[in-house]
């Protein structure tokens, strides 16, 4: 009985989300949702200002190079976090009874 209630709640959630997605305009031209002035600037001026032909690489490493630096720091922090959980340094203090 509990499984049927949970399944019906999730089907209701799916129907509500699909109904709200139908209101969005489909990406059928240059009037879709995420096309803004900065996109047109990047597409026109990326080749002459940066000198590479791959626009995604030019945006990642020239216009927004600081975000990529932050992301490499996130990768480094994840290694530090995993090492601190799985290989902790246990230094026994002097004068403690239980080992």
């Amino acid at each position: 009985m509990k499984n049927k209630i949970i399944a019906s709640i999730f089907i209701l959630l799916f129907v509500v989300l699909v109904y709200s997605i139908m209101q969005m305009p489909a990406g059928s031209g240059t009037d879709s949702l995420a096309y803004s002035e900065s996109t047109e600037y990047y597409l026109e001026n990326a080749a002459s200002e940066t000198g590479v032909t791959n626009i995604v690489a030019a945006i990642l490493t020239d216009y927004r190079a600081f975000d990529t630096l932050g992301e490499t720091i996130v990768l480094f922090t994840s290694i530090v976090a995993v090492v601190s959980v799985l290989r902790p340094d246990r230094k026994p203090k002097e004068g403690e009874n239980n080992g």
Binding site: G51, A58, L75, S78
Partner: protein, 141 residues
């Protein structure tokens, strides 16, 4: 693994996968790809080596010391190029206004600092994948 077919085919396949990954990292500014996907490919080939030949043999090739140098070296290369941009023109991580050579559009040596940053990102991602795999798979003795 003890199977002889898996070992022989892995010995043949690993250099080609690694070469393809390095090709994607180096041509990151001409064709789709870049540092992240190329680094993931090189890391996957090293994980394949660890899975087939065991953790002890893989630890001898990529020891703790090599992983530490690769991890820190990737970020330090990125930061050195950025600080060099401060000395040359005045803003952090600047490309054309700092005077780096641009080259022709579409050739391999073009784009100023962009191929150097791609190599740094590729090394960092590959060493992260292999370090995490070794830490998660080793057992206490």
């Amino acid at each position: 693994m003890d199977d002889i077919i898996v070992r022989s085919i892995t010995r043949i396949v690993i250099p080609f996968v690694m070469l393809y990954g390095i090709y994607i990292v180096l041509h990151g500014h001409i064709s789709p790809g870049g540092g992240f996907s190329g680094g993931a490919l090189v890391g996957s080939s090293l994980i394949l080596y660890t899975l087939v030949f065991g953790v002890d043999k893989a630890r001898k090739k990529f020891s703790h010391r090599v992983s530490e140098i690769a991890e820190s070296g990737g970020i330090l290369l990125y930061l050195m190029v950025g600080i060099l941009g401060i000395f040359l023109s005045g803003s952090f991580l600047s490309n054309q206004s700092a005077g780096f050579p641009m080259g022709e559009l579409g050739s391999l040596l073009s784009g100023g600092i962009i191929p150097i940053l791609m190599i740094g990102i590729g090394v960092k991602v590959a060493s992260t994948m292999i370090s995490l795999f070794h830490i998660l798979i080793e057992e206490e003795k």
